[in-house]
Symmetry: C2
Subunit: 339 residues, 2 copies
């Protein structure tokens, strides 16, 4: 049995999508056990009349909720009875709980994870690794996408190792082609950090390092893992998602501007729906916080129930794959690099 | 008469698109005078039989070309007879030449501009400011998009001032809404640099500072100027362009996969062509290098003739607007900030 906690509050559409996602995940994974944290009366109300295996779901009551605009350090100190911090503390204290999923405040979750739970042996800093679909039909992982706005070369190498193991073990990508996000393809491009990271990645034998990648190639399918500092990784993923979203919106608006276009679009309805699903980042789950000593998956604040279910599946598959010990083992071979 | 130099070699499709763009610009702007640098025999061959005002075009012969993979410092030292470096030197030495356009190596152009031409009074570092169309029908300038991979807060403020003046004077945007690229909206987001820049921008009275912007909002039309370090600005613009390009490619491929879709797309042909034109970044010219003592516009390496023409128009309009003196005047009021 894989035991996971789901923080049911704090997202834009919580707790409805969290409850729906939880029940879908329970039905899809027969050996999954879920603990929901949040207002018990509200959660019981949402569960009432729904069909699910009562023996694999429990509720832990928490009266508080952490808002997205709260200062993370205050949140973890003052809101111990929140759905998120209760989940974090239970995760820390219970050996039989493998991980947690939250759609709440990213800052509070990262701070809570670092301060209350801690890192795998040898990890300098945990890092987020969200997954995007590529136009070639595969996926690409971006690590770090925002947990660390400043990094050094040793951290970037760890991000590369952790993300490669993640893609290999959880998504079955063989020898993930790993690139360093940079402003140009040549080895000497970028700032000192990028040049140092380049030569470090290039000499790390457990990696399939393929050199620098410019951001325009993210969706091309040429790479499986992109390594970057959390600031530019955040810019990268949000620019990609934002552009896709804005283009779809424009397309829709233009289609509605003329009858002829509406007729044409009607013939292409199925295709447009498939495009929309393809570009719908909800379908690709959340950002895994690689390097924590327990599994933590952060769902988008605007997650729907499918996204919540996918996040639970990610945590489940990570646990099954034994990713944590593999990361510790790999990092132990490189832990003495000091820059 | 506005006198500009066009570097006719070094781009992916040079010199054909450069010559075509030059002739289109001469025809569109009756008081434009163009000097083309490059292999004279080749350029004369391209011009043969074409109709244009011979009194407003001259060729300066240069036997060398700078490749995109050459080290910039070597290129400017060893290739003085290249189409780019000859243009740079002529621009420096002739008071009556207002500016230059190149579709060649970005690194060589920036280095050449810095070393051979120099900066406007008070400018710490020149910065690129490309323009993108927004989904709201307007435009947005991104400054810096790659000239400076590391920056400080004082530089970011100068980028904001220069780009605001550029959008206001060259594109007629009234009080450009200016944002700082960051990982979240709140003032305390990001690293030390971003927090320092935020409070500096917020207290600069000549700016219409609107706070932090996440990259997903770039095309939303909420902002006219986005200020960022050259590394994340480069990631931002290439991710945006890359996503748009990859999505259009996928759409096209999917349309061709079924007859029904092809019929639907035929009805929407005009719309798709308009979308394509809208998203075609060639139509929005090149990146202006703001802060140089002479006007320099860098066209994309893959520029077509329309892009070259737009670049020439950008330089022409900058000269007409008297942007340089305005930048010097504005910066003189803030030049003592040391951080």
């Amino acid at each position: 049995m894989v035991k996971l906690i789901l923080d049911c509050f704090g997202g834009d559409r919580s707790p409805d999508v969290n409850v729906d996602g939880a029940l879908a995940a329970l039905s899809a994974m027969p050996d999954l056990y879920l603990i929901l944290t949040g207002d018990e009366a509200v959660l019981k109300g949402k569960l009432k009349g729904r069909e699910y295996d009562h023996g694999r779901l429990e509720i832990v009551h928490t009266p508080q909720v952490i808002g997205c605009d709260e200062k993370p350090t205050d949140a973890i100190r003052l809101k111990r009875d929140s759905s998120m911090m209760k989940a974090v503390m239970m995760l820390r204290d219970s050996d039989d709980i493998a991980g947690m999923v939250s759609t709440g405040s990213t800052g509070a979750l990262v701070t809570g994870a670092l301060v209350r739970i801690g890192r795998l042996r040898g990890v300098i800093r945990p890092a987020f690794c969200p997954i995007l679909p590529t136009m070639a039909g595969g996926i690409v992982g971006i690590c770090d996408s925002g947990a660390n706005v400043t990094v050094d070369a040793a951290m970037l190498r760890q991000f590369a190792i952790m993300a490669s193991l993640y893609l290999e073990n959880v998504y079955g990508v063989n020898k993930p082609r790993t690139a360093l996000l940079n402003v140009g393809a040549e080895a000497e491009k970028g700032d000192d950090l990028r040049r140092e990271a380049y030569s470090l990645l290039d000499t790390t034998d457990c990696l399939n390092f393929c050199g620098n990648m410019e951001s325009r190639e993210l969706l091309s399918g040429k790479y499986d893992v992109v390594v970057c500092d959390g600031f530019s990784g955040n810019v990268l993923i949000k620019a990609t998602e934002g552009t896709a979203m804005e283009l779809l919106k424009k397309l829709k608006k233009d289609i509605y501007s003329r009858l002829l276009y509406k007729i044409g679009a009607a013939l292409m309805k199925r295709m447009f729906m498939e495009e929309k699903e393809f570009m719908n980042y909800q379908n690709y789950g959340g950002s895994v916080l690689l390097g924590c000593s327990k599994l933590i998956v952060k769902g988008h604040g605007s997650s729907n129930s499918v996204a919540v279910q996918k996040c639970l599946e990610q945590a489940y598959r990570m646990e099954k794959s034994g990713l944590g010990p593999q990361i510790e083992d790999a990092l132990s071979r490189y832990e003495h690099y000091e820059g």
